[in-house]
Amino acid sequence: MSLWPADVQERAKELIGRYPDPKSAVMPLLYLAMRQDGYLTEAGMGEVAGWTGHTPAQVQSVATFYGMFKTEPLGQYLVSVCTSISCMLLGGDDVLEAVEEATGVPHGETDAERLFSVEHVECLGACGGAPAVQVNYELIEGSTPDQARALCRWLQDERPEVVNTDDMQERFGGRRSFDWAIAESENAVGPYPAFGPYGTTPGGEV
């Protein structure tokens, strides 16, 4: 018996149908579970186990291996600051410090109101536009500590329901690497990557 509403179940079936073996659909379904509960709950992982034929322990193993599957509740905005080598050389650590200061949230944590979660992450593939920051996995390149503070203030004051790379880059970004991110952006509606099939984009259609 599924805990998920009928439309999510339909989506799960569709996702499973894309693979020869239901077990292969574990990662897409984990995103679906994360969208349902805001993060991966035990019940959500159990649900994915039921759909895929894995045991819950196996689902947990996958879920805890990948950094983008979250097993703790998140804020409305997940701010990820890259501190890998290129970003680090160009001030990523200062950007992180600015974000921590502006939000009042140390990295790896979420504030009490569940507005911000802050993390430092490994390479975002945006070395050409270092230092890079993401909000709900929407990318901003060429950030500075001041811009990062402004970004956080904006999020706090405006509380946008949807965040978008183009928009944020224009307001808070600096030097960009190249344009690929813009074309691929789908606008994120929560602290999950914006993927149509998982319902994490506005509309969220498959």
Partner: protein
């Protein structure tokens, strides 16, 4: 036959099968390469990196893992070069970074691969001065196993075992990198029937068994190899004891049987041996209460009472039940005692829960367990092997997963092997005959199943799926199976040495050595050694119990048998025993049955006596002594010998080994089967008939036609449900009752029914349901089980605190409330 290739290991040329992993090839030729993650019975992963060796390639030598490198012609391997040594030392330094080195308080200390290999290959000191990682230690991951994550070196042996071998992937790695740990899902423990194997294969002390924690240091243990007595596979085990207490069983890798694995019942089912409930002195009943007495007084009483009954009513007024938990030597002594000293043919090792003795002893052609590995198809129409025979379950699982065999499972409900079955057929108890007719006909849906079974070699594992099932069904299934291409049958019965006891003639229809009791020529040969053997009609267990109830029989001798718990129809058992004039029981414990006896004599248990046992394929193996029995307990044969002397017909056995020699002389199928053979030449055990020996009784089950099969089909009475009554791994048997780690794991009484039936009866999960049979009416909590067909209920047999339901096919089922209203 795989091609052999020549490779050079440390300058020595050896010939090994092409594609064999270097680590295995080297070991088989005497070069041990250190390892943690690699295990010969599991797939290689190359996780721990300890087995690094140098291999010469056209581009220079490379350092690579020998557990993932297949041998190829001309390969040159260096396992002890400077570079290899440096690499191994480096790996050990890394592995020890987070290891707590709490060896003095670790169960594994003294037999720990990490400890040993650090001594042999390690750097001796560490450059790591930072804080090690810390975890709560230890945490229980099941009722039987504790996990200490600080000690873990992440070799994944346990998680791979759980997934690959046991099929219960309930433990897995959690998190990543420096945070990686082995974990269960919260509130979902590692409740695998095979969890104990992970303790044995853990190369560090991360996994420890609750039954053994802090009990002994390895160097204080004495060890002897033996053959497990919990089911009819006879897995090879190491029995380890300290200060006359058996403390641990470990699996021993016998390629023919268990390949090193044990179910938890076998691994932890040793606790009964040292139980304080063991009988220590003979007991005689005085005014309805047992009193301790001396052997002399007890034996005098037995001889006097038995003697006068035999004198008055003849030997055929005495029945004998038991022997299936004894050694072959004890069972042989029991058969000879009954037939020649008492003068009765009423003896049976089965408890009305088995199959026809001639089928079990004589079915031909009979499969070996190892045949499963090469089978194209396996037909499993038998009890749920996961519940009744853990290591056979693992063998079938392995044969399907790795050997590519197609599996057909036929059973009244879900079984542990359904997930590996190509076809699963479910039927209502009583209607197996009809299903068999349909299957043999191969019409419609059955065509595909029959097609799967039409590619040989086929191995059919045939047994009684449940206790309400007619034993004739197995015979008919075997008859059908033997018509399949290149087919062999592995007959399945459950109670430890039941095959040995039948082979020793402890059955109404058999004489020692797989001889039919009506074989006049063999009988004459046996009488030449034994003296006269009675000729009267013989009764089986049910016949003996019924005979006692109506007074046809007067006395009963029980040898390690507990009919009140084990005979499916407990009422018949109780009635018979209560009516008997005299009952003497030879046993380890006071049981529900021998509480009713007049005399109870304390016997030696597994681990306290030497002898041979025979498994379901006919493999004879040695069991060995490591501790002395408690108090004044004696071997079964010695007790019977003492009674025989007092009855003035001395069996005059000198020792168990002498009995084995006598068996080899008089039992045709056991000719040549001696302790020396098993101890020196046939360490995997020897399948009888061995060498020149012959088996006089060859039983070919006949295939029945549709008409005959349909005539045997049975329906529950109108409005009633068909009862499926089957055993579970852990139950209320006397050995389990006295193995405290396991007894609590019995699933408990319940009635499983199909959700549709439950809906119709207005029953929800957990609600009390009234189940009424001819003999009894009991209330059980409901479990919804959609693996059953409608109209069928499943009740696990012999659960703690649950009265018997009898073994009639029909039961009336109603919601608890309705009945009380």
């Amino acid at each position: 036959m795989t091609d052999l290739v020549k490779i050079t290991v440390d300058g020595r040329e050896i010939e090994v099968p092409a594609g064999e992993l270097v680590i295995k090839a080297a070991q088989d030729h005497g070069t041990y390469i250190p390892r943690f993650c690699w295990h010969p019975r599991m797939k290689e992963v190359g996780m721990c990196r300890m087995c690094l060796v140098e291999i010469e390639t056209p581009r220079g030598t490379i350092l690579t893992t020998s557990c993932t490198t297949p041998a190829s012609a001309g390969m040159v391997v260096h396992t002890a070069s400077e570079t290899t040594k440096k690499a191994q030392a480096g790996i050990l330094e890394f592995l020890l970074i987070n290891h707590p080195l709490d060896c003095p308080v670790c169960d594994k200390g003294g037999e720990c691969p990490l400890q040993d290999q650090t001594m042999a290959y390690g750097p001796g000191e560490s450059r790591f001065v930072e804080e090690k990682r810390h975890f709560e230690k230890p945490i229980p991951i099941s009722d039987l196993v504790f996990l200490d994550r600080e000690r873990c070196i992440l070799c994944a042996r346990c998680t791979r075992f759980a997934d690959e071998i046991a099929g219960d992937p309930l433990i897995e790695f959690k998190d990543r990198g420096n945070h990686t740990q082995v974990q269960t899902f919260p509130d979902l423990p590692f409740s695998s029937y095979f969890s104990g194997n992970t303790v044995q294969i853990c190369p560090v002390g991360a996994l420890t068994a609750s039954a053994y924690r802090f009990k002994a240091r390895p160097w204080d243990l004495r060890r002897v190899e033996s053959s497990c007595s919990h089911c009819t596979v006879g897995c090879s085990i190491a029995v380890e004891a300290s200060r006359n207490d058996v403390l641990r069983f470990n699996g021993v890798d016998n390629d023919a049987t268990n390949q090193g694995w044990l179910s938890d019942k076998c691994r932890f089912g040793f606790e009964f041996i040292g139980s304080e409930n063991r009988l220590r002195t003979p007991l005689i009943k005085v005014d309805g209460e047992f009193q301790e007495t001396t052997w002399a007084d007890a034996l005098d009483l037995v001889a006097e009472r038995l003697g006068s009954i035999i004198e008055e009513h003849g030997g055929e007024a005495v029945g004998g039940i038991g022997g299936a938990r004894s050694t072959n030597e004890d069972a042989y002594a029991f058969g000879k005692f009954m037939r020649t000293v008492v003068g009765s043919n009423h003896l049976d090792a089965q408890l009305d829960d088995g199959l026809d003795a001639r089928f079990l002893a004589g079915v031909s052609p009979r499969a070996k367990i190892g045949d499963l590995d090469h089978a194209a198809a396996i037909l499993l129409w038998a009890p749920d092997l996961k519940e009744e025979s853990g290591s056979l379950y693992l063998r079938v699982r392995h044969a399907v997963q790795e050997g590519g065999a197609k599996l057909v499972v036929i059973h009244p409900r879900r079984t542990g092997l359904d997930d590996r079955a190509t076809h699963k057929l479910t039927y209502r108890p009583g209607q197996g005959f009809g299903l068999l007719a349909d299957l043999a006909g191969g019409e419609g849906d059955y065509a595909a199943v029959l097609e799967t079974l039409s590619h040989g070699p086929v191995v059919a594992i045939v047994g009684r799926t449940g206790l309400t099932e007619a034993p004739e069904l197995a015979e008919a299934v075997a008859g059908f199976a033997l018509g399949l291409p290149d087919a062999t049958v592995l007959p399945f019965a459950r109670r430890s040495n039941v095959f040995g006891a039948l082979d020793m003639g402890v059955a109404p229809s058999l004489l020692p050595g797989r001889v039919a009791a009506d074989d006049a020529e063999a009988m004459a040969q046996l009488e030449a050694v034994w003296g006269p053997i009675p000729t009267h009609e013989a009764r089986d267990t049910l016949g003996i119990l019924e005979g006692l109830a109506v007074g046809d029989l007067k006395a009963l001798i029980l040898l390690g048998a507990d009919p009140v718990r084990d005979v499916p129809d407990a009422t018949v058992a109780r009635r018979g025993i209560e009516a008997a004039e005299f009952v003497v029981a030879i046993d380890l414990f006071l049981t529900d049955t021998n509480q009713l006896a007049d005399v109870v004599l304390p016997a030696e248990a597994f681990g306290e006596k030497e002898g041979t046992v025979t498994n379901l394929e006919g493999r004879v193996q040695k069991v060995n002594r490591i501790v002395t029995g408690p108090g004044q307990s004696q071997a079964d044969w010695a007790i019977l010998d003492d009674i025989s002397r007092r009855l003035s017909k001395p069996l005059a056995f000198a020792s168990a080994e002498a009995i084995c020699k006598e068996i080899a002389d008089v039992a045709p199928a056991y000719a040549g089967m001696t302790w020396e053979l098993l101890e020196w030449d046939e360490k995997e055990g020897a399948v009888v008939p061995y060498g020149e020996a012959v088996q006089p009784l060859i039983h070919h089950p006949a295939a029945a036609d549709r008409k005959a099969l349909e005539a045997m089909s049975r329906q529950p009475s109108s409005g009633a449900f068909a009862l499926h009554l089957a055993r579970t791994l852990y139950d209320d048997g006397v050995l389990m009752r006295n193995s405290l780690s396991l007894h609590a794991l019995a699933p408990g009484a319940a009635v499983h029914l199909h959700p549709e039936d439950a809906g119709r009866l207005g029953v929800t999960e957990g609600a009390l349901v009234e189940v009424k049979s001819v003999d009894a009416s009991i209330r059980l909590p409901a479990v919804l089980d959609s693996s059953l067909l409608t109209g069928v209920v499943y009740v696990p047999f012999n659960q703690p605190w649950t009265p018997s339901l009898g073994a009639a096919l029909s039961v009336v089922v109603a919601a608890g409330k309705e009945v009380s209203a």
